[in-house]
């Protein structure tokens, strides 16, 4: 099926099938300084709500102190934008976790469906609209100057092989969830498989030419014409591969650890492998949009590496008075913040290809969650943390809003890349327009 996908991509990208598959695959590597500075978006998801007192600063404005969960991000404090008071106000079928997850980036109701959530909720299906990451990806892909090979890449860490509204936040359209790839080897193959193909093909060309020459000797002069033409084609292929070899990636594929199974206890290693791949794909301009999804809504990862043996979701249901559970949850969320920091560090340490500053200056990270708080299942005060640059937002601030719909944040993201939508998701939730963040 790989080849089908490949063809599908080519078709979508509007390229001729004649250049399949060895010609495509590498971005335009000249990477001359673009007319408009490059903009990239990364959405990171971690599940089951945050611990508000350990997350939200007490102060508003530029002068604020980081709470425990965000301490790993201290060095990026002046590049952070904390948005308290942003709510997922989408209602309708499905339970809180389902809507929390599948309406998080779509801002629109779930379709009727067969998935029964918790409590007395009405069963529901997929989200009924596109998600903001895919909307922006499509916007980028429509223009010659911002188009990339993939447009977007969806990374997962420990998501598990299950498809339901609790496990999907990206949607290509109504009822069309985009599955994150949790297996870094699969992602590696997706991004760099064609290079491997080219290498395999190159390695058989000499023996192939020898076979053709050998066979040519055995057949009649009349039939030889066909084989001679065939040999010309093989030499042509060889030249094409050689031409390609001269085009090198800006940065080669990352060397990733072998044999790391997609299992709970490997989540820390898988996380770093995925982040390495993500940054590498951006360096090589394979995509300008990415999502990085840690487990799923109701995710029950057991973070043994933090000496926490309870499942994450179970812990998140414990009352505020359970201080042991609170401490564990803070530890868990702090660990997620540390992964965000690893990503930010990598981006900050990488010069923007052909441009000014670092890649972080041109990349906005949005870290969020499907719930405001685990034990109440509230969809208010979703922990929205923005980090980085390039979107024209005034960073280094903690802002506080009064339960404004998160659709307005999505509008702000779209406007920041020049995509001037009037509404996104459920139109009624867009009044007031994009959040003013600059």
């Amino acid at each position: 099926m790989t080849s089908m996908h490949r063809r599908e991509f080519i078709r979508q990208a509007g390229l001729s099938a004649a250049v399949l598959p060895f010609i495509v695959g590498l971005p335009s590597l000249a990477l001359a300084a673009p007319a408009r500075p490059r903009q990239r978006l990364i959405v990171i998801f971690s599940p089951n709500g945050t611990i508000p007192p350990a997350f939200w600063p007490d102060e508003v404005g530029r002068d604020f102190a980081l709470k425990p969960i965000l301490t790993p991000l201290a060095s990026f404090k002046d590049r952070l934008l904390l948005l308290q008071g942003v709510s997922n106000k989408v209602r309708g079928d499905g339970d809180g976790h389902m809507r929390g997850m599948s309406c998080l980036l779509t801002g629109i109701e779930l379709l009727p469906g067969n998935i029964q959530g918790g409590g007395k909720s009405i069963p529901a299906g997929w989200a009924s609209g596109i998600s903001i990451d895919q909307e922006i990806k499509n916007f980028f892909q429509r223009s010659e100057t911002t188009r990339t090979r993939f447009g977007s890449l969806e990374f997962g860490v420990g998501v598990q092989d299950r498809a339901d509204p609790w496990t999907r936040m990206s949607y290509a359209g109504s009822g069309q969830p985009v599955a994150p790839i949790s297996d870094p080897y699969q992602m590696h193959e997706k991004i760099y498989g064609q290079m491997k193909d080219r290498e395999s093909l190159r390695s058989v060309l000499d023996p192939l030419k020898a076979e053709l020459a050998r066979v040519r000797q055995m057949i009649s002069a009349e039939d030889r014409r066909v084989l001679e033409e065939h040999e010309v084609l093989v030499r042509q292929l060889e030249r094409e591969i050689a031409d390609h070899a001269s085009q090198t990636l800006r940065e080669g594929p990352p060397v990733i650890e072998r044999g790391v199974a997609d299992q709970n206890d490997n989540v820390p290693r898988l996380s770093r492998m995925q982040i390495d791949l993500l940054v590498n794909s951006f360096v090589n301009d394979m995509a300008r949009v990415a999502t990085l999804q840690y487990t799923k809504s109701v995710g029950g990862a057991r973070m043994n590496w933090l000496d926490i043996t309870d499942g994450h979701h179970g812990l998140s249901h414990e009352p505020d008075t359970d201080l042991v559970a609170q401490a564990k949850l803070i530890k868990i969320n702090t660990w997620f913040a540390g992964e965000v920091r690893y990503l930010a560090d990598k981006l900050a340490a990488t010069p923007e290809p052909g441009g000014d500053g670092s890649m972080l200056d041109h990349t906005l990270i949005v870290w969020t969650n499907e719930l405001g708080k685990g034990n109440t299942h509230t969809l208010d005060n979703l922990p929205f943390l923005l980090l980085g640059g390039g979107f024209g937002f005034a960073m280094g601030r903690a802002l506080k809003f009064e339960k404004i719909p998160h659709n307005r944040l999505h509008l702000a993201l779209a406007h920041a890349v020049g995509h001037r939508l009037t509404t996104f998701g459920k139109a009624e939730l867009c009044s007031g327009g994009p959040l003013a963040l600059s």
């Binding site: 395999s200 058989v204 066979v215 066909v226």
Partner: protein, 781 residues
Amino acid sequence: MSLTNHQRLVLALGLIALGFVVACSGPAARGPVAGKKIFSQQCADCHGDHGQGVEGKYKDALYGDWALPQLTRYIAKNMPDDHPASLSATEAGTVATYVYEAFYSRAAQVRNHPARVELAHLTNRQYAVTVADLLRQFAEPDAPAPTSQGLNATYYSTAVRGRFDATKITHTGIDAELNFTFTAGSEARRRAGGTADFSVQWRGAITADETGDYEFVVRTPNSVRAWINSEPVEPVLDINVSTPENPDHRVTLRLLGGRSYPIGIDYWALPEKAGSPVTPALALRWKPPRGSERPIPARNLLPATPKPTFVVTTRFPADDSSQGYERSISVSKAWDEATTNAAFEVANHVVKKIDRFAGTRPADAARAQKIEAFAAKFVAAAFRRPLAADETQRIVTDLLRAAPEEAAGLRRVVLLALKSPQFLYVGLPAANSEDMRTAARLSFALWDSAPDRELAQAAAAGRLRTRAEIAAQASRLLADPRAPAKLREFFFHWLQLRFVDDLRKDATLYPDFTPELVDDLRTSLGLFVDGVVWSEASDFRELLRADYLVANERLAKFYGLPPPPPGEFARVATPAGQRAGVLTHPYLLAALSYKTSSSPIHRGVFLTRSIVGRALKPPPMAQVFDEASFEPGMTMREKVVRLTRSENCQGCHAVINPLGFSLEWYDATGRFRTEENGRPIDAASDYVVDENEKMRFGSARDVAEFAIASEHANHAFIEQLFHHLVKQPLMAYGPDTIVDLRNSFIASGYNLKKLMADIATLSALPGARPALSAVTPPHSP
């Protein structure tokens, strides 16, 4: 080919007459020097020194099948173009004889362009089938297919997604068609135990009639997992979330016709909560190539468990069909790229299942050796012969050793094997493999695939050298399902029905002529042809004479025939004299019609070319068939007569029209009729056989009897079949071959299987090709 779409009709006019066939009885040569002189003085300016044509003057080459007297008369009357009739009778005769013998006649054409067996690479069909069989041979063979229909079903009174509880089985049995709505209290729900939640497993096989892309649709508002031509762990649909508004889950798979593929469906229905819009239901549907979407009929479902078949999805550029059959005697950039992409598809598949193919596992100490052994076997199978020791070294060992790890090495071996000429070209010579070449010629002729193990073993043992040995293997190969799969394409090709895309008719006139009915017609024709060809008698004459239709209830109702058993296609008798086999099959008749009326010209051209075997050159001019230009109330026959009455038209239409008119008994949908617009059908006319003979044709049956008896028509059919099977020009096998084949065919009682076996045997024979009758004594009819 969908003629019904065309509002314009191309008519053969004018000079086409030169290209028209009649008979070949050449008179003795006289005065070649004088004839050549006249030709170069009077004709060569326009026709070229050798009658090859001159661009800007008369560009077509001069050849055709008129007899010499007719050619002489034509030249005497019409040539040279600027001074017609200026030649004396003697001069006309002399130059006509020269033209006839130098390049015009078939004998001259054969002499000037001797046919030979050319180096050919795999056709697209051969590539797909060969690759499928190549990989298939490394799996266990399937058990023989059962004759029953439907899928095995197991119902459970509980639903836990991803699981089935063997203690909760409420029903097991066979479901013929999967099209259920599990409303509370229904029979289907009762089978599931009547509980609030329930689940069902269906297991079995699906058979594809034709090669192409099949869009499968699982329609359910519940959860479902389905695998089709894959392992259960590789579902093609894994649907947890459904929505009642859009319950169709689709996947498109490419399948090869005439084969069975595993299918499995796991289905879970959770209890409907108050307020839930979900009513449990499940339907398994498909949209076959060139068909409409519909429930998968029971006759395509089997309670069997075949292994998956690898079907390559790379699209190759179309094969060369310029000679009337698909063959591959040239290479192109697009083709070379397709072979690369396809080789990667295969290599990736093999590498993904490397341990299974090599019969090993990651921890196996002997894994590298086993992979090397498998790689060598793979290459030998791809090359269709044993490898020499130095080849094994070059193609297998060296590549594996040079690679960083086994998987990468195996990928390279597969790539090289499938890019190699030994795989891509059919019948290359190689040292010590003459017997294997014979085997390959035979299996490609009958299967479009490489020899199977038994055939390869016979070749290796030197038991594939005499005609009798080869003929015995040919008979065995014909009994394998791969033979009917190949031959079905031939018969649709012969009837020019392989690519029918749009058979819609005027909805006011024919409201019941629905897409479903069109699908049924195609099925009906396929079943009819298969039924005749693969019966004991395998009688070609039955194809043209049969007075029954294979029909289901919908077809029987539409065509006014007695109903067959419910839900089945069966033979249904037609009123005496109304039908004559394929010639009157409504699928063919509807394809050779307009949206509102029959088209005697399309039908006539088809009968001329495919059934009576006369050649027509493409018409040099087109004429619009403009319905508005005729007075109301005219019959179609009257319109055609008027349109083609000029002398120029009559050169061809004297032949086309009588054949086409014989089918005027059938309307645009192929329904039998006795009148048109209130006027009785007139189907009778005189058909010009040759200079001396006319025949009265009044019905399809008259045409059928003529085609059965006519040597020329027989030859045309045999030649088409030969080309389809062998993909080389029949003439390359000697001028008498066609005569021998026909004699054997007639002596066997027009036995098609015998004819196929004869053709395959003859094409497979190494070296000289003695007369066929020498070793295959004719059967008495």
